[in-house]
Structure formats: C-alpha cells, structure tokens
C-alpha cells in the first residue's frame, strides 16, 4: 500500500518535471531560420518543383543585375515577362538554365495584363507546362522563383490565399487630362464633362485640348459624366486613337487623342502602403488574378508559378503588399500568349 502510494508520488513528480520540460524552455526559443517556411530545409522538400523552375523560368538582367523573371513558352525562345518592368530595361539580357542570351527581341505587349512577349535566339528549351485548369483550391501549395545565381534558380513556396477575382484600379492608359463635372450648375443637356487640366506633352495637349473645354461626345457617344469616359477606355491600349467633340466658347470642335500609357507609381496610397515596404509599381487593374501568400521581392515577379504537381498554374504579375501577391491564371496566360504570338 505504502509502496504503491510512493510510486504514485514519484510518477506525479515526474509528470510535473515532464510538463515543465515541454513548456517552460519554449519561452525565448526561436525556430532556426532554415526551418521556417522560407528556410533552406523546407525549400529542399520542394526540390522536384525547383528542378522544373530551373528549366522553365527565364532570368532577365539589365546589364549585370538580375531584375525580374519570365516564363519560357516555347522551345525556340518565346518568353513572357512583366511589361511595365521590362520596358524600363536599358540593356536586357536573358538567362535560361545556365545559358545567357543577348538582345532579346520584343514581339509585343498586352498592357491590360501588363505582359510582354519577348524572343531569344534559342533552341531546345523546355517550356512551362501550362495547366488547363488553373482554379487551384485555396490552401494549395504554390512554388515560384526565389533568388538566383548564374547556375541555380532557388524557389519561394506558399499557398493560394484568396478568391480568384478582378483587381480594380486605375486604367493602364491615360488621355493626359483631368476631368470633372462642370463647375457651374448647368441644366443644359449638352454640358458635357469639363476638362479641369491638361498634362503638358500629354495626348490631350497634343490634340489641342485646354482647361475649361467641355467634352460632349466621346467615341461617338454623348457623355455627361467623367465615369462614362473611363468606362469606354477599358480594354484600350496605348497608341489607340479616340475621337471626341468638345465645346469651347460656345463652338463645337472635333479632335483625336492618342492614348498614352499610365506611368506606374510607387507612391504609397494608404497607411498600409506607407508601412508595407516594397511593392510593384503596377499592381492593380488586372482582369483576373489568383492571390498567393508568398512575400517575394518586386524584382522576383514575372516568373512561372507551379502547383505541387509541377504544372504551371500561372505567372507572378505583382507584389501588391507584404501579405498579398498576384498571379495571372494559366488559362488566361495561354490566351495572352496566343494573341501576342499571333498563333492560331
């Protein structure tokens, strides 16, 4: 009886020690960085996907500095990349695998999606295996480019983190003017939309428009509100010409404006931005994106995004902020590629 009680006490005593052993030392302990989601040990588990990224992602350099990625679309060197960053490169060079290609040729660009198609003189490349169905469930693993050396691509891993959707935003094309309601109260049906200001050297200035002109007809339709004009500009590309009528001093004039591309902005637009660190200059106004939780650097955009099965579910198009990254889904990417490469 006594011995049993004694044993029980010992067991209880051990239990307390054990519980202290499992809890107390935890305080102040830190998980080694290599064991974290972005760490080398976890990265190693994604080696099969890394090997795919090694083959089907392109590294773009401006001079000697790697500055963004691309998706290899064909064995003969067609590559998709992020347009707004690509167009800023002074001396673009492209690496696929270990081989460096000089003087890529710009085949075309789609400003609505912010995608450029370029071509390098290559053969025998391994293209990305675009998944027909890019509707990956939320919580699915995704893998994309991380940092890179001349020989080796590394990866970032994370998950699909929100609903697939369009990202509203400012249009990628501009008329080069500021619009508003007529300052005075006007009952007149032909009041139109007032030009509040004209950007020097912009499309509107070149077309002869001035402050206080009133636009009454845009693309053949009478307009009363600023939003009507913006709606009609959706889907337009830089270089497109839009016709309009305007009223100045009681007289009606007709003119044409050549649309220009909106300059990207890294200026913070909210308190979150001010505290977010880096984000892509162009990170809105996309027709459809998949959202992932990988916190990449902005110069790591443009490359392929893989599912766990190694198929390409999309192309990384923007770091929106420190917690949100956007991906063009592979189904859309296939269409963009077809249109840009004029393949049937």
């Amino acid at each position: 009886m006594n011995r049993l009680k004694c044993n029980m006490l010992i067991i209880n005593f051990l239990a307390v020690i054990l519980s202290l052993g499992s809890l107390v030392p935890l305080v102040g302990q830190t998980l080694p960085s290599e064991d974290r989601l972005s760490g080398a040990n976890v990265e190693a588990a994604f080696d099969p996907q890394r090997k795919v990224i090694q083959q089907c992602s392109a590294v773009l350099y401006d001079g000697r500095r790697s500055c963004q990625y691309g998706v290899v679309m064909s064995s003969d060197g067609y590559i998709l990349t992020k347009w707004s960053e690509y167009k800023e490169l002074k001396n673009p060079r492209v690496r696929v695998g270990e081989k460096l290609y000089q003087e890529p040729q710009l085949i075309g660009q789609d400003v609505a999606w912010d995608v450029a198609l370029i071509k390098v003189a290559a053969e025998g490349l391994v293209s990305a295996d675009l998944a027909a169905e890019s509707e990956l469930e939320q919580g699915s693993w995704v893998i994309m480019n991380g940092s890179t050396t001349r020989k080796q691509r590394r990866i970032n891993a994370g998950i699909v983190s929100a609903n697939m959707r369009a990202i509203e935003g400012r249009l990628p094309v501009v008329l080069g003017l500021a619009l508003g309601r007529p300052a005075a109260k006007q009952e007149d049906q032909a009041a139109g939309v007032e030009v509040l200001g004209v950007l020097p050297e912009g499309g509107a200035a070149k077309a002869g428009l001035k402050k206080k002109d009133r636009i009454t007809v845009f693309l053949g339709k009478p307009v009363q509100r600023h939003e009507e004009i913006l709606e009609m500009l959706k889907g337009k590309q830089p270089g497109d010409i839009v016709g309009l009528d305007y009223v100045r001093g009681g007289k009606i004039f007709s003119t044409k404006i050549e649309l220009q591309e909106r300059k990207g902005s890294k200026k913070p637009q909210s308190r979150n931005d001010a505290m977010s660190g880096d984000y892509s200059a162009r990170r809105d106004s996309f027709p459809k994106v998949m959202q992932i939780d990988i916190a990449l650097m902005t110069r790591q955009t443009g490359g392929p995004v893989l599912g766990l099965d190694g198929r390409c579910v999309g192309m990384c198009i923007a770091r929106a902020n420190r917690a949100e990254t956007y991906v063009i889904p592979s189904s859309e990417l296939g269409t963009i590629y077809k249109n840009l490469s004029k393949k049937p």
Binding site: L14, L31, L37, A44, I159, A162, N321, A323, E324
Partner: protein
C-alpha cells in the same frame, strides 16, 4: 486530454522532406479552411477596421485590444457574406492586447473551437502549439473585400515569449485581431502586431485569454499598456488628422516623422515628403502626438493650415489646402 495524443505527423518532424509530408500539410489546411473562414469577421470601428473570430454560437468574438480600442463601445462586425451585424466591445487587456466583443444581432452564428487552457500540472502536455508547429492565419487584410474574401496564410510557430507567440504567417494592417489556427482547425492565437520583417508576426496566445476570461467577459478594462492607445483622445485626434491630410506619422526625436504620404492627398499636394520631420503647426511647436492633437483638435478647413517640416535642405513651410479649386 492533451494535445500530445493527437499531434499531427508533420508536426512531429523537424521539417518536411517529402511530397507526402507537404501533401499532408495541404490536406489538413484544406480540411479546416472553410469552417475557420465562416467564423472569421471584419470589425468596423469608426473609420478603421480590424479582424476577429467568433467562438460561440451566441456571438462571442475574440479580437485584439488595439482593434476595439475601448470597452462597451458600439461597433459592427461584417460576416463573410457581407452582412453587417451590430456588436459591442466587452473587456480588453491593454498590456497583452487581448479583447472580446459580443455580436448583439442575429443568432446561431458560425464559430470555431478554441484551444483548451494549458495546465502545467497535467503530465507532459501542451495544449498550445509547440515551436515549429504548422499554423494558418485568416484576416481581412486592409479591410473587408467581398470579392477577395478573408486572406489565408500558412506558416509555423517561430518563437514563444511570455505573453506572445510569433509565426511566419505574413500579416498586414487590417489583419489585427484575426485568428491563428493549428492544423486541426482549433483557435490558438489572435493577431496582434505586424513584425518588422515579413516573416515574424506576433499573436496573443489563447492562454492569455483563458487567464482573464471572466474579467474580459465582464467588460473590464485591464492594465495601462500601449495597446488601447486608440482609445485615448489624443490618438483619436491624431488618426483623424492623418486620414484628413493623407499621411502616416511616427513620434521621433525633435518632431513627428512622416513615414509615408498618400498619393494625391492633401499632404502630398502641399509638398510633404516621406522622412520629413513635422516640427510646427500654425506656429505651435510639435514634439509629440500630444502636441499635434492640441494643435489640430479644431481645424478650420476654409483656410490653409500652415506647417513647418525639417528636411535635409533645411526647414520648409508648407500650406495644406483643404479646398480644391
């Protein structure tokens, strides 16, 4: 019943090494994702917003003290489908950042299970997640967005401190007060602070709630810590002013540092730039938030507000124009 008995296989290994390990993590996450999301809410307080999570059928919500900012305050919670329900804040702990609120509209709310209180006297168990355990976060990052939904993030517990758990789930403003779950879908923490680096973010562990559950339920304002600073009249005035002119300010040596300016906001149009040091408003010297609150408690928006900022080139006088021609 300890967590030990039901530890998941991927939490028993130091890191995943195979596709099978990765699949197990993904499968667990997907299994609990929808249920967890249904109980995750956006909390609207005044002009700001945060996140929270429902933990009882009758609408008890756990969140962060700095989200609710005070006890017995009226606020709204937004459900996943966009329905807005009336709510009232209960108690908060301004030192640990724990807070509760109650939805006072509707019934039969979706809710999640919370981690049981850790009892050190129970042999070799930790109800709370251990260092390295996989976890997932939800929250209304940057405010409610019905098209997007709440945002899901995966990570691991990377550090334990006395009243704080850290994970490498990526968080941003608006996530505060949102839930952190273990891979069995059990609530283990509430998002508190965004870390200086993206993969180090702070959560209030569930044991902190358990320790003061009754007091929080009884609408007590506990402690004099920093996390309820929104409740102070000073910070209310400062935040209103920040929103009005489109700027983020930080207390700094000799004035208020401009952490960022909002594009096309009043401050930017007046020429204010990041890293300016705000030192004077309408002739009054500004050293702290309290000074600013006094200076801008009443702003006459019919005339410009004159401020002085210090920058590398010297001191600049700026005119903040509220009226646009």
């Amino acid at each position: 019943m300890g967590a030990m008995a039901q530890r998941l296989p991927f939490n028993e290994i130091r890191f995943p090494t195979s596709q099978k390990d990765l699949m197990q993590i993904e499968t667990a996450l997907k299994k609990h994702r929808d249920h967890a999301r249904a109980a995750t809410v956006c909390i609207k307080v005044g002009a700001g917003s945060g996140s929270g999570v429902i933990v009882s059928r009758d609408g008890l919500v756990l969140t962060a003290a700095h989200v609710v900012g005070g006890v017995n305050k009226q606020m709204k919670v937004v459900m996943e489908d966009g329905r807005e329900l009336k709510a009232k804040s209960l108690g908060l702990n301004s030192e640990t950042d724990a807070a509760m609120l109650k939805i006072i509209e509707g019934s039969d709310h979706p809710f999640v299970k919370i981690q049981a209180q850790t009892r050190p006297e129970v042999a070799a168990t930790s109800e709370a997640p251990l260092l390295g355990d996989w976890v997932f976060a939800l929250g209304h990052s940057g405010g409610f967005d019905k098209e997007r939904g709440s945002v899901l993030r995966l990570g691991r517990v990377v550090r334990w401190a006395a009243h704080t758990m850290q994970s490498d789930c990526k968080l941003i403003g608006g996530d505060s007060g949102g839930p952190l779950f273990d891979m069995s879908g059990v609530l283990v923490g509430i998002h508190s602070r965004v870390g200086a680096v993206v993969d180090n973010n702070m959560h209030v562990p569930m044991d902190v709630f358990h320790e003061q559950w009754e007091k929080l339920l009884a609408s007590e304002f506990i402690g004099e810590g920093p996390y309820a600073r929104k409740q102070s009249p000073t910070m209310q005035v400062v935040e209103k002013f920040e929103q009005l002119i489109g700027v983020a300010l930080q207390e700094s040596i000799g004035g208020l540092k401009v952490a960022g300016v909002v594009e096309e906001g009043i401050a930017e149009r007046a020429g204010m730039r990041s890293d300016d040091l705000l030192i004077e408003v309408e002739g009054k010297q500004i050293g702290t938030f309290a000074d600013l609150a006094k200076a801008v408690e009443v702003v006459d928006q019919d005339k410009p507000l004159i401020v002085k900022v210090k920058r590398d080139e010297g001191v600049a006088t700026l005119k903040l124009e509220f009226r646009v021609e």
